[in-house]
């Protein structure tokens, strides 16, 4: 059969109206930050998209004061039904402006437009819609007696799913009656700032949502601020531990969604083509910038060679390049720093003796890029089998028995997710019981839904986001 080249199919940027600079969103309006400004660039082209303010300690003070005032005077006094109606409004506006958000997300983050359009933005809207309905039903949620908000919640989110993580954080916080000071990641602040406009359009009372941009010190200022009652953080395990130490001995609560090193386990009776698709989706979705990515493939020894062949053939067809192209499968690495980290860890992998293979595809000359890469001959002690790479790199290990697969899968400090591929139902259920992971995908991977609790065991953090369980983190109960 002849193979046909793809013609370029770029999504238009015209829908996005970028300003040259953005302030902080405090008390319902954009204000200038006190710190120096920094640039947010497109990782696919290194083009400067906008200048953004670095929030200082004084700015954080203002944001927390605005959130506290909004909490005391407005949000905590409003009926759940009315809070819910604001969330419904937000969900609807996100749907109405979905294309704009998708294009901006892809510009700022580097992820393929098909993912921002079909995953990030629709699920973000769904999170608001789902939680809107909880706002007046909290006493039915089996959270304990007299569920009530903590007050002001500080939220710090990562760069891999900027708008979606914002939705995971803000929707349950607002539904339960808390007000919010949220910091987006320094490399991907733009959709959060566009979300601030959504809050204005929804006529959300000023101060209920405050968005402050900046880097690590800004996040630390939020964590340490005495006016913050609860922290919700998604990011690296290292920073998660710092936060846990920072709030030790206080009465601040925390939910931490941290790193992972998920095993995707393929048995010899699995439907091979389906499993190959699942493995590819598991690690190359969003350039592997996914905390629950299936970064370790555990394949049963008897099919390892055949699986390896099919996997590599499939990787050869992945289209890497312009994130705005609707046919692109793998986009740009989010930042120079992340690319450096991926390069460093893959060099270590080679140095430790694992066998490296990549698809050899052409890469754009500007921007940050990394070819989909597979390491075979990986052993348990290799750093690429233990440490989170957070890039499009798969480490392949083999096993003989289900017991061995479980032992290897659980042999990391992480415990966020796991995958099982087999046609045998009883084995799926046994494996699911044994795996120390907060989310187990059987014969599928990387599925997300607002009703489905997400979060990890062990050093992948604590607390859950989504579903009834996700509400628990945002309320206190009892007398």
């Amino acid at each position: 059969m002849p193979t046909f080249e793809y013609a370029p199919a770029p999504e238009s940027r015209a829908v996005v109206d970028l300003q040259s600079s953005y302030g902080l969103f405090i008390n319902g309006e954009f204000v200038d930050g006190g710190g120096t400004s920094f640039k947010s660039i497109s990782p696919a082209t290194e083009e400067v998209l906008a200048e953004v303010s670095e929030a200082t300690d004084a700015d954080i003070d203002k944001a927390v004061a605005a959130a506290r005032s909004a909490y005391t005077r407005v949000w905590s006094r409003m009926s759940g039904a009315d809070r819910g109606k604001y969330l419904y409004r937000i969900a609807r506006i996100l749907q109405e402006r979905a294309r704009e958000f998708a294009v901006l997300e892809t510009l700022d983050n580097g992820k393929p437009i098909k993912e921002s359009r079909d995953v990030d933005v629709p699920i973000a809207a769904a999170h608001f819609f789902y939680h809107a309905g909880w706002a007046d039903k909290l006493e039915y949620a089996s959270l304990g007696t007299n569920p009530r908000p903590h007050g002001v919640v500080g939220q710090i989110i990562p760069w891999n799913f900027p708008l979606l993580m914002l939705a995971w954080k803000i929707a349950p916080a607002l539904a339960t009656g808390n007000t919010v000071v949220l910091k987006p990641a320094e490399t991907t602040p733009l959709t959060a700032l566009l979300f601030a406009e959504v809050c204005q359009q929804a006529e959300l009372p000023p101060g209920v949502v405050n968005i402050v941009t900046g880097s690590g010190p800004t996040g630390q200022a939020i964590v340490d601020h005495p006016g913050i009652d609860k922290i919700a953080f998604t990011g690296s395990t290292g920073v998660g531990k710092m936060i846990a130490r920072s709030i030790a001995g206080t009465r601040k609560k925390a939910t931490l969604e941290l790193g992972g090193k998920a095993a995707n386990i393929v048995f010899d009776d699995a439907p091979i083509d389906q499993a190959v698709e699942g493995i590819v989706n598991g690690i190359f979705f969003n350039q592997g910038h996914v905390c629950c990515a299936g970064s370790r493939l555990l394949v049963q020894e008897s099919i390892a060679d055949e699986f390896d062949r099919r996997l590599k053939r499939r990787l050869g067809t992945l289209r890497v390049g312009d994130p705005l192209d609707k046919n692109t499968d793998v986009g740009a690495i989010n930042s120079r720093a992340q690319l450096d980290r991926i390069v460093a860890l893959t060099d270590v992998g080679e140095g430790e003796g694992a066998v490296r293979w990549d698809s050899g595809c052409a890469l754009p000359t500007k921007g940050f890029w990394f070819r989909p890469t597979i390491f075979t001959g990986v052993s348990q002690t290799h750093r690429i089998a233990q440490e989170e790479i957070f890039g499009p790199v798969l480490s392949v290990l083999t096993f003989r028995t289900p017991q061995e697969a479980v032992a290897k899968a659980n042999n990391t400090p992480y415990g966020l997710s796991a995958g099982i591929w087999t046609e045998k139902g009883s084995r799926i259920l046994w494996m699911a019981d044994q795996l120390k992971a907060g989310v187990v995908w059987a014969n599928t991977f990387n599925q997300f839904d607002p009703t489905s609790p997400f979060g990890g065991y062990k050093e992948s953090g604590y607390g859950r986001e989504g579903g009834r369980h996700g509400l628990e983190a945002y309320v206190k109960t009892g007398a």
């Binding site: 089996s142 998660g240 030790a248 206080t250 009465r251 699911a432 009703t451 050093e459 579903g467 628990e472």
Partner: protein, 305 residues
């Protein structure tokens, strides 16, 4: 002539056995002054030499707990419920001994001690009954927007270190321990420093109740000495800091900070700000002490013909 009675040696409880402390140390335990009678001038009454647990004892206990935990979690919920109910049966059969020890430990009147022991036994029964129910209450099917079967269920966190309450030597201890083990966790308990004897007698109840060795390990001694090693232990999944209230030399903030090294789940002591107070154990509990040591696991599977 009065009979010379046979006195009990109070030892540690680790891995289902009753060893002395590996350190060879013991410390003197005295009866609390009566809370009901007028103060007397006579010296405190000597009760026993309790084993003084060490950091090595704590580590041995964690090893025993880790070894026992998967089997305990893997037992059926019905089985765990029966085993825990059996603990209550054995406590009931030792009621006079428990009452005397609680009287001595806490300086209570006979009637008050009877009431406390009754409540402790009843609380054990209450938690035992939860073994095959909380999973249904807390989990279930999630209606995801797609052709998937999606279900969330609770699992035990793993090995839990516990600082037992300093004041309430039996009721408080039962109120923190039962909700931890009912879900399949294993526990390493540091007893009240001044009131360790009811805890060791509870250990004897556990040892004769089909609770597998290692599921509960009890170390008498000083929390200030042992707790830092448990808080920083990499193979402990969670820590209950309840007993930091009124414990000499225990800084719960420092323990929580050390717990961050492997992101232990931390149940802070009750109270406001940096303070810590012991809860009123006579209050009916809710599920919060049970849910503090659970993980939620969510499993997805596609639907199709």
């Amino acid at each position: 002539m009065a009979r010379v009675d046979v006195k009990k040696t109070y030892k540690l409880y680790i891995g289902g056995k009753f060893p002395r402390s590996e350190s060879g140390r013991s410390y003197e335990v005295y009866a609390a002054p009566s809370t009901t009678r007028r103060p007397r001038t006579e010296p405190p009454r000597f009760l026993a030499n309790a084993a003084q647990g060490s950091r090595k004892d704590a580590r041995d206990a964690v090893t025993a707990a880790r070894a026992a935990q998967p089997g305990w979690a893997g037992a059926t919920a019905y089985n765990r419920g029966q085993v825990l109910y059996r603990v209550a049966e054995v406590m009931e059969s030792r009621r006079p001994q428990l009452v005397q020890e609680v009287r001595d430990a806490e300086g209570l009147s006979p009637a008050a001690a009877e009431a406390v022991v009754s409540q402790a036994i009843d609380r054990w029964v209450w938690y035992a009954g939860w073994s095959d129910k909380y999973v249904q209450i807390l989990g279930g099917l999630n209606p995801v927007a797609g052709p998937y079967f999606n279900i969330s269920a609770s699992e035990p966190t793993g090995v839990v270190a516990v600082l037992a309450p300093q004041g309430s030597s039996l009721l408080g201890l039962v109120s923190v321990l039962a909700p931890i083990i009912v879900s399949g966790n294993a526990a390493v308990v540091v007893t009240s420093a001044d009131r360790p004897l009811p805890a060791i007698t509870l250990a004897e109840c556990l040892a004769t109740s089909d609770v597998p060795g290692g599921v509960v390990n009890i170390i008498s001694g000083k929390a200030s000495e042992i707790a830092p090693w448990l808080a920083s232990h990499r193979d402990v999944n969670a820590i209950d800091l309840c007993g930091a209230a009124d414990a000499d030399g225990v800084d719960w903030a420092a323990l929580e900070e050390a717990s961050a090294d492997n992101l232990k789940r931390v149940l802070r002591p009750a109270g406001e700000g940096a303070g810590a107070v012991e809860p009123d154990w006579s209050q009916t509990p809710d599920l919060s002490r049970l849910t503090a040591f659970l993980e939620t696991k969510t499993v997805w599977h596609p639907k199709g013909r």
